[in-house]
Amino acid sequence: MNAAAIAALRLLGGVILAGLVWEAAVVGFGIRPHLLPRLSEILAAFAVTPGAYWAGLQRTAAETLIGFAAGTAVGIMNGVIFFRAPLLRDMLLPVFIVSQTIPVIAFGALVVMWFGNTLFAKAVIAFYLTFFPVTVNTLLGLNSVDPRQVALLRSFGASPRQILFRLQLPMALPQIFVALRLGASLSLVGAIVGEWFGDNTGIGVLLLQAMYNESVVALWAAILCAALLGTGFYALVAWAERRIVFWGAEQ
């Protein structure tokens, strides 16, 4: 059996153990179902309408992934443009940095008004929540490249394009992945909040419906879905980081 299979089995064992502890704690300590229902009740809620949860999971995952992918691509491109054009960078970067400190998620309301209650609108929210940190960190990473290495490559006759793809971008990857890990959680938050402005499917919708029905079991079921999606997505990004930045990630 290889290492990955053992790790997967161990993870599965941990999840089953956590589930048993949950069930035993609720029964044993007599926790009121208003606070924390038994895990078996929540799983039963999944079993009653598996379609609704599955559809919600797919929908929110699609919104998050599309927005995240677009935000990554445009963010990296933008970082490179800022790196190449110092005048543009000096003029726009302060605005970008200030935009990191304002509650940009509030613009979600406007985005939904512009694009309607579509998958696209939520993807746009996830997009810009990813886009800003990726731009800033791409630039940070590109700036941290040792100028002597650039000079060395240039002396061997490397074109600016070759220097960018062979040296500068790879060296910037650890910084970029710091932003991607942040973006992975932010884009999911953006998608969920975007769904609150009115939609028919999605984890945000499931959360909202459960709240209006004051159904704590349904709420916990939706929270578990959100946790599953969040953890899965974050693990995916972390896995990609280990594969791509094999020489060691930055913390």
Binding site: L35, A106, L207, L208, E214, L219, G230
Partner: protein, 246 residues
């Protein structure tokens, strides 16, 4: 940042605002596409008292939750460092709670604590608490194993090592966590208000969306941004005062 860069930055900001104003005015864009900057500022001035009251509510929620969350985050991290056996049991539970996107807790917290300010304070404390807790724990763990051994060989106790070694080493990371948490505190307060509240900027944004009052949405976002910037600046200034050796 040098003087040229500062001037360029100012020019960039002015250019963006000018472009925005001309586009909105020149193309006579309807308010739902993009209201002009001057329109938004006029709306802020016109609804000054309403926005001010809302900003006070949101600011109170964010600040109270921030203080509670920051203290709890540092406190729990300290506890887990000093009481090793506790860590093995508590850390997986805390990480499981943290694996849920923070806004997904909002509906549940609203059901538990009602529509008033209490639910927002709890949500902000939760978000800030985890941000600070994770950075504090990483900071406490960052110390060199050999430094711990050295201090122990000189007879330092667990508290001595914590106070003289771990805490100073962790402070820069804790400060970074506290800075990031300022922005999160306002975001979480606003997002939770959108779900249900009796007042606050998030509530105004949600109401204005349902009333299709686009200029008001922009005005509330502008006020929220100002609040966030002020809070971020305040914590940054405090940090420079307190961690003077950086």
């Amino acid at each position: 940042m040098n003087a040229t860069a500062a001037v360029r930055g100012a020019v960039g900001a002015v250019l963006i605002l000018a472009l925005w104003e001309t586009l909105a005015r020149g193309l006579a864009l309807p308010a739902y596409t993009l209201p002009a900057v001057s329109q938004i500022l006029a709306a802020v001035a016109e609804h000054r008292s309403v926005l001010q009251a809302a900003a006070l509510v949101t600011g109170f929620e964010a600040l109270t939750g921030y203080v509670i969350g920051a203290l709890a985050g540092i406190g729990v991290a300290t506890l887990l460092i000093l009481a090793r056996p506790l860590r093995a049991g508590a850390l997986p539970l805390l990480l499981a709670i943290n694996s849920v996107p923070v806004v997904a807790w909002s509906p549940l917290v609203l059901l538990w604590f009602g529509m008033g300010v209490a639910s927002k304070i709890v949500m902000v404390a939760l978000a800030v608490g985890f941000t600070v807790f994770l950075s504090a724990l990483a900071g406490f763990d960052r110390v060199d194993r050999r430094s711990v051994d050295l201090m122990r060989s000189f007879g330092a106790g667990r508290f001595g090592i914590f106070w003289r070694l771990r805490l100073p080493a962790a402070l820069p990371l804790i400060a970074a966590g506290l800075r990031v948490a300022t922005v999160r505190s306002l975001i979480v307060a606003i997002v939770t208000e959108m779900l249900g509240a009796y007042g606050g900027l998030g509530w105004i944004i949600y109401q204005s969306v349902t009333l299709i009052d686009f200029v008001q949405v922009w005005a509330a976002i502008l006020v929220a941004s100002m609040l966030s910037l002020a809070f971020f600046g305040l914590v940054g200034a405090l940090e420079r005062r307190l961690i003077f050796w950086r």
